[in-house]
């Protein structure tokens, strides 16, 4: 591998891991605070600032920088070089500048608006401009991915690109479509309003634009994890990919279905007619389909691995898997947590049941199983595989790496299962403390938040292990030659000789996705724009 691409990938990993470390430290204080435990520097102001920092650094910075790093690694593996490396470096600089601006605004208490930043809560302009720069930088990454995909198609003359490149490109395309929402919210609403160029803002329109982006964001996190599950995990576990063609269909379906689903985050909002909400419910159920296909294919591939390693009987193959390899155990444990998270998600998406769980602790517990486990734990495990190969160093502190995924699983089980129950008995999410001046109904939450806080401590221990292993490897690992990534082989090569087919034509499917988005959003957006609307001035109650 040329050194410059490796340096680019490692630069992204550095930012990603440091953001993760800071965000994990913030989370401990939050977990203890919700259990009504006194910790140093505890105050409501500090709590809401730190929830904002945790959300932005974890969900937007850690994930985006890792996803960009993985994308460059995939493109490099595909073509021997990435497309437009100078653009890639410029975009890295831009994303880092944006992150620094947003982090400054948050850490100086100028932007305690949480990572959903709903107006009319108003943050410092540096917060909005900084996050916009991160999004713009990610568009540069998308351009590089799509150019690499086209290059690979040309070179392959009729044969499909690798599954990893296919999945990464589908993700870049869905991200381009999704970020139209948040970019419009930033450029036409939040930035001019925070700079004082316009006096008022429509909070409902802002929410519609945010959630146009906010749900596909979930798939932007998840698809790189699926790339690892399909294209890497079967090989690391010692098996083969069960069904290569269907895996391609899965990624294509995500590109098509990810965006026209945003109203399932706005079921409880006024201003959006019920019929449109139900239409988004239908689309949301449809997008569960590719995830359920993934569950089958990944489990089948792992079963092949377990049996090749000598596992016998109905479940014997599970124990035969290499649980001691953290790059494998992280995928296995992330998958287990995601099964629970996935079913929880279909409850959130249920048009009628949502009113029982909306904005309760259930929601935070849910997405800690999806983005916080399926994506984050997979990314951590992938780092144990990728970082030594790309940095050309041996993995340091291997024992910590080996226990880290199990600690994460335990911590998340404690944190998330109690959070789900607390949500069902009504605990609102994002509250500094939960006693409600001794209200009788609030007493039901106390034990649950205490167990949840214990989970937070275990999660922090796990996060500390991860950061120590990666920084130790990057700084002090014994030098070796950098190595290529190796993708999993398909179990049965296609009989028709590996021709690129309809499902590989991502450009075509992008157009289908645009049409679906127009069907789902054009009329309700038009209707809101034609109401007699009264804007809101900015508020900074933090």
């Amino acid at each position: 591998m040329p050194r410059t691409t490796n340096r680019l990938i490692l630069a992204h990993i550095w930012v990603s891991v440091l953001a993760f470390g800071v965000a994990a430290a913030m989370a401990v204080m939050q977990a203890l605070s919700r259990a009504n435990l006194e910790v140093p520097y505890r105050s409501a102001r500090m709590y809401y600032m730190s929830v904002t920092a945790h959300g932005v650094l974890m969900a937007l910075v850690f994930t985006t920088f890792f996803i960009m790093a993985l994308g460059y690694a995939v493109a490099h593996r595909e073509n021997g070089a990435i497309k437009w490396p100078r653009l890639a470096w410029a975009m890295f600089g831009l994303a880092l500048l944006g992150t620094t601006m947003a982090a400054w605004a948050i850490l100086t208490f100028r932007a305690s608006v949480l990572y959903t930043f709903y107006p009319p809560l108003q943050a410092h302009p540096a917060f909005y401009i900084g996050l916009t720069l991160v999004v713009v930088a990610s568009w540069g990454w998308c351009a590089s991915m799509i150019a690499s995909w086209r290059e690979s198609r040309r070179r392959n003359s009729g044969r499909p690109v690798s599954l990893a490149m296919h999945g990464t490109t589908a993700n870049a395309m869905l991200w381009l479509l999704a970020t139209i929402g948040v970019a419009s919210e930033m450029l036409f609403q939040l930035i001019p309003w925070s700079l004082g160029w316009v006096k008022t803002i429509d909070p409902l329109l802002a929410r519609m634009l945010f959630w146009f982006f906010g749900h596909p964001l979930v798939y932007f996190w998840l698809l790189p994890a699926y790339v690892i599950w399909y294209a890497l995990a079967p090989r690391l576990a010692g098996g083969k990919l069960f069904s290569e063609p269907l895996a391609r269909v899965t990624f294509t379906l995500f590109l098509v279905l990810s965006t026209p689903v945003g109203f399932h985050h706005q079921y409880q909002d006024p201003g959006i007619p019920a019929g449109w909400k139900l239409f988004h419910t239908f689309n949301t159920m449809a997008i569960s389909f590719p995830s359920l296909l993934t569950a089958f294919t990944v489990v089948a591939s792992l079963e092949i691995a377990g049996r090749l390693r000598g596992g016998r009987g109905l479940f014997g193959w599970i124990g035969a898997l290499p649980w001691r390899d953290p790059a494998v155990s992280s995928v296995l444990l992330a998958g287990l947590l995601f099964m629970v998270g996935g079913f929880g998600g279909s409850i959130n998406a249920a048009y009628t049941l949502n009113s029982v769980v909306h904005n309760t602790a259930w929601i935070a517990a849910h997405f800690h199983l999806t983005v916080g486990s399926a994506a984050a734990l997979t990314f951590m495990g992938a780092c144990y595989y990728l970082v030594p190969r790309i940095a050309g160093r041996e993995l340091e502190l291997g024992l910590l790496a080996r226990i880290q995924p199990f600690l994460w699983f335990l911590g998340m089980a404690l944190f998330s299962f109690t959070g789900h129950i607390a949500g069902l008995v009504g605990l609102p999410r994002r509250v500094f403390e939960t006693s409600y001046a001794g209200a009788a109904q609030a007493s039901a939450w106390q034990t649950l938040t205490t167990v949840s806080a214990l989970g937070g401590l275990v999660l922090f221990a796990s996060a500390a292990c991860f950061v120590a292993v990666i920084l130790g490897t990057l700084l002090a690992g014994k030098r070796t030659a950098p190595q290529m990534i190796e993708w999993a082989e398909p179990l049965s090569p296609p009989t028709d000789g590996f021709r690129a087919g309809l499902w590989d034509r991502l450009g075509l499917w992008f157009v289908v996705a645009v049409v679906l988005v127009i069907l789902a959003y054009a009329v309700p957006l038009w209707d809101v724009l034609h109401l007699t609307r009264y804007g809101s001035p900015g508020y900074k109650p933090f």
Binding site: A44, Y48, V51, L114, Y118, P120, L121, P203, L204, P245, L246, V249, Y267, Q268, D269, P270, G271, P273, A274, K277, L278, M285, A286, S288, F289, L292, L293, F296, A300, S346, A350, Y351, T352, S355, H358, N359, T360, V425, G426, P428, V431, F432, Y436, A437, A439, A440, Q441, T495, W503, D527, H530, L531, T532, R533, Y534, G535, S536, Y539, P541, F542
Partner: protein
């Protein structure tokens, strides 16, 4: 494209499951009228406390005998701070905010709605007798966790129509078309 038999069975299985999920939801909404709060009506947030609907906050009974609640969210309280309602009776809530977004959540019931400045939220539900906490479930600033109100639900026979009943407010409705 060749798809393995087991995989085909799985695909049909999950397809049927998802269709059942959606069918159940559609059935509940069309047959029993279960919908999330989706009222479309706008209001000037600066004029809320002068509007016919929200000038006085609290419980009222309309001309047809139906029970309503007008409530307003502001940093960091619900107006009114206490409500008394009859059990087993449909109650229609009308909600708005004078400042930022709030979330009106009657704990351990399905009664909740986002409360967005500039818009009027509305939902109808009924309760069993008991004491309930009304929390704010959308972050609204540094006092978010202190924003709460009390709901007391008494058996229907013990409930008295509030003395200061507002007859039938016409509402600050603009462009209400739903």
């Amino acid at each position: 494209m060749k798809v393995d038999l087991y995989e085909r069975i799985w695909m049909w299985g999950v397809g049927v499951m998802l269709a059942l999920f959606f069918g159940t939801l559609a059935n509940a909404s069309f047959r029993y009228g279960f919908h999330p709060p989706s009222h479309v009506e706008t209001i000037d947030p600066k004029a809320v406390l002068k509007s016919p609907q929200f000038r006085r906050q609290g419980v009222y009974v309309d001309g047809g005998g139906a029970v309503h609640v007008s409530a307003v969210g502001l940093m960091f309280a619900w107006l009114p701070a206490a409500l008394t309602l009859p059990a087993e009776t449909p109650v229609t809530f009308h909600l708005t905010s004078v400042d930022v977004i709030h979330g009106f959540q009657i704990v351990r019931t399905n009664g909740q709605s986002m409360v967005v400045p500039g818009y009027v939220s509305q939902f109808t539900t009924s309760f069993k007798a008991g004491d309930y906490l009304i929390a704010c479930n959308e972050y609204c600033g540094v006092g978010h966790h202190m924003m709460a109100a009390k709901l007391t639900v008494v058996p229907k026979a013990q409930w008295r129509t509030p003395a200061d009943t507002v007859a039938t407010p016409t509402g600050g409705a603009h462009a209400a078309h739903h």
